[in-house]
Amino acid sequence: MSVFCYKDTRVLCQGITGTQATFHIRRSLDYGTQVVAGVTPGKGGETHLGLPVFNTVKEAKTETGANSSVMYVPAKAVKSAVREAVEAELDLAVCIADSVPIKDMLEIKEILKGSKTKLIGPNTPGIITPGEARLGIFPENIHTAGKVGIISRSSTLTYEAVLETARAGQGQSTVIGLGDDMIIGMDFVTALEAFHKDAKTKAIVLIGQSGGTFEEVAARYYKDLKKKKPVIGFVAGNAIPFGHKMGYAGDIITNGHVTAQDKKDAFEDAGIITVDKINDIHRKLAEILK
């Protein structure tokens, strides 16, 4: 099965007429992703990349049966784009843009509350189920279908993790980039939960980094799970000194637990197989999946 996106996922693209969107939607189409519509306000009725363009997400959904969105809209437009996706009751919205204002993200989190839409990102490479669907900007040629689920906050480390699965002779069920921003849509817990329900996924790689307590929350969730799939964890950022930035308020919220080591400790305590180097992942994977 995989998680969140599949070969029958019907994808619409918000901001389809932009340069980045054009480049990546073409690649996603070539990959076999069922992109069925584009949305660019004011360009409804046009055709782009052979796809019908609509003014609103709602129209695109009604006309084409799209159930997911990948958005390449600029940072300033993200809030209204997500609101539209939520109001159209899409299952999934993937937001690639970086530099989204934090206040906008706080408002977006309120908009998402109680809705059926799951937001991935912003500042993410997106989500890819190898051989089925690509929503985002992944270098698709490094992926192969398989049984390892990958969840990562950092884009580039997502790719590293994918390369590690290849070195272990394995492929990926689904790869999810949660996004590198201060506030993100989907968190580790939602992704972990989905991978645990997915029969195809036999092992999970979890890539965290210093800042925030997303990893600690994930560790607590995993620790309490009755039936656990093996999880390999890596956390980047041990070399960043404490208090590198001005003021303490951000660190106080996390009770000073901000270092990569704190997160590794939480992982280990929860029974997650923790590696010190990202290039150690393939060895652990080979052991687990032999």
Binding site: D98, R153, S154, T156, T213, I240, A249, G250, G256
Partner: protein
């Protein structure tokens, strides 16, 4: 983006928060004049305006600045002149500035304000809960950073709404937590709501009043203030953008900002060029395992312009602290061959005098490797991140 204490206080004051009387001074005579305007007979506070915490615990690099820190209390007009001469033009080092410190070019001169007690107040974003959070703590002489680590239960955390004011119940809770007398109620409400509105209106990421004081009449006053803003929201705050102090940044940081690259400096010897913060963090960790520190890292993100990339690489190549360069690129939207072209053009302009290890993966990786090999530059190619770090450390040891 950060601003200075005096600028932060002026903003808070616009939101009704009390601040001590004072003003900014660039010369000893100005300091004297501001002091006379602020208080008839003193004492006064002289506060070095650099963007750092823990200024009072800091020290000056220059002998002429004496042994005292960056925040000084003075009792006479004559002493103002002496102390101001010591501090202005001197370099203040704190636990947040790094060993090179920051040049003090202006002082904030304030009337010393007598308070009965002090407390900590901060506003920041709780990332996991995506919530604006008020933080309050009784200090009792301890440092807030120590309290956060050892006794987090001494810190009250309240979630605030993005819209609207802090609720009366929340203000009451802070009253009880700080054990304030009823006469402080009105002023505390103004203080908290002022912080709250100032944060939301200006797209702040952090406000810290450390400490706030309670005066004899019960009024709350901000004795210090720190303000950080969301860089991604500055486009809607031209007034805040004008407060930016370029002297707080190094020439290289300004260059990088011009091209919209992320650039951070540390005190090690390796310059890293990457296209993601996560990979920078992981590379720094690997270097540290070898006992090698990072001098700086430059994140070129999804950059697609060859000239911009070349300029970015030059920033690293011309950093005198850099004794070795690690370039680790995972091409997606960013094509590796662009980076290869950028490396060659930067090296031909400024020369390549230190070991350089390059690892490419992803879009156009083979083409990029070929470009570097053909260039005949002494560039070492690597397969994985770990391989790249090992090769660089080895090359740096050999060139010693």
């Amino acid at each position: 983006m950060n601003i200075h204490e005096y600028q932060a206080k002026q903003i808070l004051n616009r939101y009704g928060i009390n601040i001590p009387k004072g003003g900014i001074a660039y010369t000893p005579n100005e300091a004297k004049r501001v002091a006379a305007q602020s208080s008839f007979r003193g004492p006064w506070m002289l506060k070095a305006q650099i963007q750092s915490g823990a200024r009072n615990k800091g020290y000056f690099l220059e002998k002429k600045a004496g042994n005292k820190g960056g925040i000084r209390q003075v009792k006479s007009q004559r002493d103002i002149l002496n102390q101001v001469e010591q501090m202005l033009g001197s370099t203040l080092v704190t636990m947040q500035t790094g060993p090179e410190g920051k040049l003090v070019s202006r002082l904030y001169v304030e009337a010393f304000t007598k308070v009965e007690r002090v407390f900590y107040a901060g506003l920041a974003i709780d990332r996991v809960n995506a919530a604006l959070t008020l933080l309050v703590a009784v200090l009792n002489g301890a440092d807030i950073s120590e309290i956060a680590l050892s006794e987090p239960e001494r810190i009250l955390k309240l979630r605030l709404d993005l819209d609207g004011d802090t609720t009366p119940e929340q203000v009451d809770e802070v009253m009880r937590f700080l054990k304030l007398k009823p006469k402080s109620a009105k002023s505390l409400e103004v203080f908290i709501n002022g912080l709250h509105r100032a944060f939301v209106d200006n797209d702040a990421t952090m406000i810290e009043v450390n400490p706030a004081g309670v005066m004899k009449n019960g009024d709350i006053i901000a004795l210090d203030a720190k303000f950080s803003f969301d860089d991604n929201a500055l486009f809607r705050h031209q007034d805040i953008l004008r407060l930016q102090d370029d002297y707080e940044k190094s020439e290289r940081e300004l260059q990088a900002a011009k091209y919209k690259f992320t650039y951070s400096e540390f005190d090690g010897s390796v310059g890293c060029i990457v296209n993601g913060d996560g990979i920078a963090l992981a590379a720094m960790d690997l270097l540290r395992n070898h006992g090698v520190g990072t001098a700086c890292f430059l994140n070129v993100k999804g950059g697609v312009d060859k000239d911009k990339i070349s300029s970015g690489i030059k920033i690293i190549m011309t950093n005198p602290q850099v004794e070795g360069i690690l370039i680790n690129i995972l091409g997606g939207f960013l094509r590796c061959n662009l980076i290869a072209d950028g490396i060659i053009s930067a090296a031909s302009e400024v020369g390549l005098n230190v070991p350089l290890v390059v690892r490419f993966e992803g879009t156009n990786k083979d083409e990029a490797r070929e470009i570097l090999e053909k260039s005949k530059l002494p560039i070492i190619l690597a397969e994985t991140m770990e391989d790249a770090v090992n090769k660089l450390v080895e090359a740096m040891e050999e060139s010693d």
